[in-house]
Symmetry: C2
Subunit: 327 residues, 2 copies
């Protein structure tokens, strides 16, 4: 069986790390892929007026899964619609520290399960009078239950004992009250054990005691911030993969952006992108191969060549070759 994968490198280092991930996937003998490339981002917007051309949307919609690199200024115009195109309701963001790598908190292994459809991301904004603007944050019971179901299942399947529901229901009593109640009800129905945490206090505890956390189920924007916070704990965005999971489609992307400061130099760290490809393998049912890629990346991070962001002087290609060697 051949899997059709839409490949959207995008801008900046997206052009460098995406081919690296494709190379790694190609090196997996047990799985056949058909890679189809699509354009998105600043460059195509400059050329055509559109950051996300219809062909690229169709490509992602029709593929079995999508690999997306990064976009520059147009990031929101690309990734937010792409998340919709693949029908993603869950944004899965593992933040792990790796042995041998400098990290602010070397004992971190947390997976953020971020609601991926609503909150302030609904895009309902207006200027209601001069100098007065509003953004309508939407929280529904359906979406809150769905993300909680996903989060509790994920925790169980992946052996995480600690589940935390993040919220700010003391201030947003109606919206985050609904999020908290809906997510808690899912936990209760399953007889699962879980904690709830105010997102501000949680930010502090994650910094001080990340080892106390496993799976964190969050509203959309809170998940955006808390997962970046955790990226800081484990050594930066260069290491964080993510999956945008839908009912029967999904998109995989590094948490990092297009990094214009180092783009074109061939020194971008491909780890986050390759780890995103590992999540793609899991998603297609190739858990064993996904694990193999993760183990290979981990071993290279531990004792292989390192890109400058990790204090080394290796190139993207050196790291990619080393990962493939380990496979």
């Amino acid at each position: 069986m051949t899997h059709e994968i839409a490949v959207i490198p995008g801008d900046g280092i997206g052009q460098e790390v995406t081919p690296a991930a494709v190379e790694v996937l190609e090196a997996i003998d047990a799985v056949d892929f058909d890679f189809v490339e699509g354009e998105a981002g600043d460059a195509v917007k400059e050329a055509t007026g559109e950051a996300l051309p219809q062909e690229t949307r169709d490509l992602a919609a029709d593929a079995d899964a999508t690999l997306f690199g990064a976009a520059g200024e147009t990031a929101a115009d690309v990734i937010l619609p792409l998340r919709q195109v693949v029908g993603s309701f869950a944004n899965v963001r593992p933040a792990r520290s790796y042995p041998g790598l400098d990290a602010v908190q070397p004992d971190t292994d947390i997976v953020f399960i971020r609601e991926n459809t609503e909150g302030v991301y609904k895009g309902i904004e207006s200027e209601i009078s001069e100098g007065v603007t509003t953004c309508t944050r939407v929280i529904t019971e359906d979406a809150s239950e769905k993300i909680a179901e996903y989060g509790f299942s994920y925790a169980k399947q992946n052996g995480y004992d600690d589940v935390t529901i993040a919220h700010k229901a003391n201030v947003m009593r109606t919206t985050d009250g609904l999020f908290l109640d809906s997510a808690s009800a899912v936990g209760d129905d399953r007889g699962a054990s879980y904690d709830t945490a105010l997102m501000d206090a949680l930010a502090m505890h994650l910094v001080m005691n990340p080892q106390d956390y496993g799976v964190v189920i969050c509203p959309n924007l809170a998940g955006d911030m808390l997962s970046d916070l955790a990226a800081g704990l484990v050594g930066g965005l260069g290491l964080l993969p993510s999956a945008n999971v839908g009912e029967d489609n999904a998109l995989f992307e590094p948490v990092h952006g297009s990094a214009p400061d180092i783009a074109g130099e061939g020194i971008a760290n491909p780890s986050a992108m390759i780890l995103s490809a590992a999540m793609l393998l899991d998603h297609l049912g190739y858990d064993e191969q996904g694990d193999a890629v993760r183990t290979a990346v981990e071993s290279v991070l531990d004792s292989g060549p390192r890109t400058p962001d990790l204090g080394g002087d290796a190139s993207t290609e050196d790291v990619t070759a080393a990962v493939i060697d380990e496979l």
Copy 2:
């Protein structure tokens, strides 16, 4: 001249740390205070049905400044109206690491200038149909300019070179677009140098490189989360004071809550509350005395008795006495 100070200990350790701060203020010979105590929080709600009785509101409204300890379950019902009562538009939250204290990032000295009137804190929420709720986030040009003016002035007066404007204007284009544009315009008009940062990326950078940041000007909820994040960097909420500054009134409170787990044991760390009292001194124009209190707290943190949260076994009273001794 005698300054009338409203003192609202509230619940839990608020009852222990607030008297400590009052003792410290009383030990300052150069300044005369008249302390008037008011009730607020869970206990008074249980007794009277109201978490913030009208007498307490009046007390805070009429005083020259207010010291507030903490409230339990009713925290939002107490502190949000109190911020309004004193007309506070700026929430000032310094996060510093102290020599000799364990900290995740020992080289941190950041002051969050949090907008204190709007955003999701307007409390405009509704259930628009069953299971579908909204929260209307409000951002105005006036409030955004005002907080930026305050932030840039604060940076200048307190010798901070780095000013950062936090926002999420790539997603909340209208509301955070307005916040970003208004705050940037203030910086430009002043010929000040500043950076702007997406709040998610900022969360990561603050964790990894706090020494790169000085004053951070933030929308309300972002300031809530980012300042707690920074509390985690410097050793926890037990060390973070805050000021809720208005045009001609102000309220001072530790960033920590009522800590029911240790309340009543006399072992709460009074540092955050005493440092809040130091901010009160600054606010009334006694900068020298404010500095003296900070120096005393710092010296006790460095080599004096420590409460259990900092690994010691001293009591609240021991620490307070040591601070007064140092004055």
